[in-house]
């Protein structure tokens, strides 16, 4: 275990030029807590994430300038000194590029009808049998969460679940299906480096490649998926169809779905399919591809988005309008806040807490980081948590092979399953549940989701300690 003084020193390499009084650090800690609380109660205060983080970014920059903790001056880019506002280099533009590019790419590709085609094909493959349907929808949720993003995956699978269960006359299973799918989005979100934002942030900070991330995370994802669906079948009493007549009727009902209904052009459908496969392949091999490795995953995502947009060259603005600007604005503002917190020594202060946890020993420390990250991300956004912890771990000089990176990844993702506000995709699941006039309160969600979340977190602790450590 590294000595505490060394850890503290290493958490703030950019602010070594000046001492920050503890009172100022505490003021900024209060600001950070205020932002986290506001994000946790985003729905209650009727304010979007980007605005909340934006307000705190403005306040932090003003206060930070007033108390002289911000290092103003030129920035060195490629050996050249460039004058740039302090909040510009504070933002991790690589992460923003990945999110912007992949959102655009997925949005345009979904117009090809590819994802609805896959979803309907799987529905037909289930023959309308509820248990088989839950298994297939569960697997689809995981794969879509891994390839797309958790929210889009939940939107696709959740909306199809509503339509197909209604068609099959099995509305009584809606709550169980939607809840299990919501929980599985956060499992699928663990599969690849680009499956969720915490993965991108932590993976980029740790220097974990796409392929390494995939082969280290996938065994856990497989086991957790099987356990979650099996529990869903049992706890929500998803019954098999009673006889051949019921099976025949259900099969006929799902056969009436037309998977080609959403395909406007066969050519664009196959182009979208090819590009999706190619996108995954190029992202997976970015670190070894000549030229591309220098440009990074953000370039790959933006490049593929631009190619797909050629199909809609005269109306690309519709896709720009459809972008989640709230999310992008939130990231930008959040990076600014975290940067100021770093200069105010707040991250160093949190680092003492983390150092205490790590100080409990490799096993207990790693486990505690994972559990506390889960607990923290269950009540607020997991992105600030991931950004903060990865910054602290990076400043500590933690090697990419250290299991604590994985504790942050697993904790930040799985904590979202403890409460309905823990992740955007579970919030979408709850929104769909309420859309179908099903009763599910905050406490009701926690009670129903707790067995799944606890088992998933326990499995993750075991996996990180026994396999990844």
């Amino acid at each position: 275990m590294p000595p505490l003084s060394l850890l503290l020193a290493s958490t703030a390499p950019t602010s070594e030029a000046h001492e920050v009084p503890m009172s100022i650090t505490l003021v900024f800690t209060a600001l950070l807590l205020g932002m986290i609380l506001c994000l946790a109660f985003e729905e209650k205060i009727h304010a979007k994430k980007s605005l909340i983080a934006g307000v705190f970014a403005v306040v932090c920059l003003l206060v930070g300038t007033a108390v002289h903790i911000l290092p103003f001056g030129p920035v060195i880019v490629g050996g050249h000194e460039i004058d740039m506002p302090i909040y510009i280099p504070a933002i991790d533009w690589g992460v923003i590029a990945i999110i912007l590019g992949s959102s655009l790419f997925i949005d345009v590709t979904s117009k090809s009808g590819l994802f609805t085609w896959i979803a309907i094909k799987l529905t037909k493959a289930s023959k309308g049998e509820p248990r088989r349907l839950l298994w297939l929808y569960g697997l689809m949720t995981v794969v879509f969460s891994a390839v797309l993003n958790n929210v889009t995956a939940m939107l696709i699978v959740g909306s199809l679940t509503g339509v197909s269960l209604k068609k099959l006359g099995r509305e009584q299973y809606l709550l169980g299906f939607l809840l299990v799918e919501g929980l599985l989005t956060n499992i699928g979100g663990l599969l690849t480096l680009i499956s969720s934002v915490p993965n991108i942030i932590v993976g980029t900070a740790a220097g974990i490649s796409f392929v390494e991330f995939f082969y280290k995370a996938s065994p856990y994802v497989i086991v957790a998926t099987i356990v979650t669906i099996a529990m869903g079948v049992r706890l929500f009493k998803i019954e098999a169809l009673p006889d051949d007549a019921a099976r025949e009727q259900a099969a006929a009902q799902v056969q009436s779905f037309d998977e080609n209904d959403g395909i406007e052009s066969q050519g664009f459908f196959w182009f979208g399919t090819g590009m999706t496969v190619l996108f995954v392949l190029v992202i997976a091999t970015t670190s070894v591809l000549p030229w591309v490795s220098d440009l990074g995953m953000g370039f790959v995502a933006l490049g593929f988005a631009v190619i797909m947009l050629l199909r809609y060259k005269s109306s690309v603005d519709q896709f720009y309008k459809g972008l989640d600007w709230d999310l992008l604005g939130f990231f930008a503002a959040l990076f600014v806040v975290i940067n100021v917190m770093e200069h105010a020594q707040v991250l160093a202060l949190i680092g003492t807490g983390l150092a205490w946890m790590i100080g409990l020993g490799e096993t207990a420390g790693t486990a505690l980081v994972l559990v506390s990250a889960s607990a923290f991300s269950s009540v607020t956004d997991n992105i600030p948590l991931a950004a903060m912890l990865s910054k602290i771990l990076g400043n500590m000089g933690t090697p990419s092979t250290d299991p604590k990176w994985w504790s942050v990844v697993f904790g930040a993702n799985l904590g979202g399953n403890l409460t309905p506000i823990g992740s955007a995709s579970t919030l979408v699941a709850v929104t769909i549940i309420h859309r179908y006039k099903l009763e599910l309160s905050f406490a009701g969600f926690v009670v129903k989701a707790l067995p799944y979340a606890l088992i998933q977190i326990a499995l993750a602790v075991g996996y990180v300690l026994l396999v990844l450590a």
Partner: protein
Amino acid sequence: MSTLDHFESAFRSASKDTFTWAPPHIRKILVITDLDAEASAQFQASLEQFLASALASVPGGAATPQWRLVKGDDYALISELHRLVEDWAPDLVCTYRNLHSSAWALEFSLGEFVDVLTQATPVPILIAPHPKRADAAPHALRDTDVVMAMTDHLTGSQRLINFAAAMTQAKGKLWLTHVEDELAYARIMQTISKIPQIETDLARKLIREKLLQQPTDYVEACRAVIIPQRPGLDVRPLIVMGHHLSTYRQLVRDHRVDLLVMDTKDEDQLAMHGMAYPIAVEIRDIPLLLL
């Protein structure tokens, strides 16, 4: 949450209505007239000839159905006629408009007997052109080579389509017709044009396309089911927007229809469903089957 709505709409659109083949069993046919014995027998004979080919090709139907003739002097009151129908429980009633009334020469009603029969009994009523009128279409009551099922809501109208398919003779042409109300559409579009949040031109195009696409898809589903059961039948879609009455008249005239099949029952009202009554009143030159 617009993205959720986007995917839900895509899946709802992909969820197509299915058609189940359930042809009617026509074993007992009741012929009602207000004529004397000889004229009544003549009327029944023309009906037997008219329906012979169709009844012979109905799967599961009786090759030679049982016919019963009720003449003018067998009943005097509506209640008596109603009881007669209920007691014998036919699968099909054949008659004509304005029974026991001189109003047949005018063009303003079906007459009280037919009015009540169509609504008070679940039995389909075939209304032939009046035997005394000379303006029946030249092809009327000859055969059922061209049958048209017509409605303003074709999707899910399984009974209507099954009856129409059953009444079409072998190798005949079955038109599955859906007339979308142009006036109702225009009214909705006028409202949409006053809502700034909805792009009017796009809404006009997409709503029109979807309104016509749904019945078109349903006809495809029907065709896929009917053809294996009735090989040789020519099942065609006729999906249009129009002003109901004039459009119906025009379509019937354009396609030389031998039998027009319509739904008349409406769970929400005692009177005939939607446009069925005015159409039944106005289209007098060909037989109509009112379900």
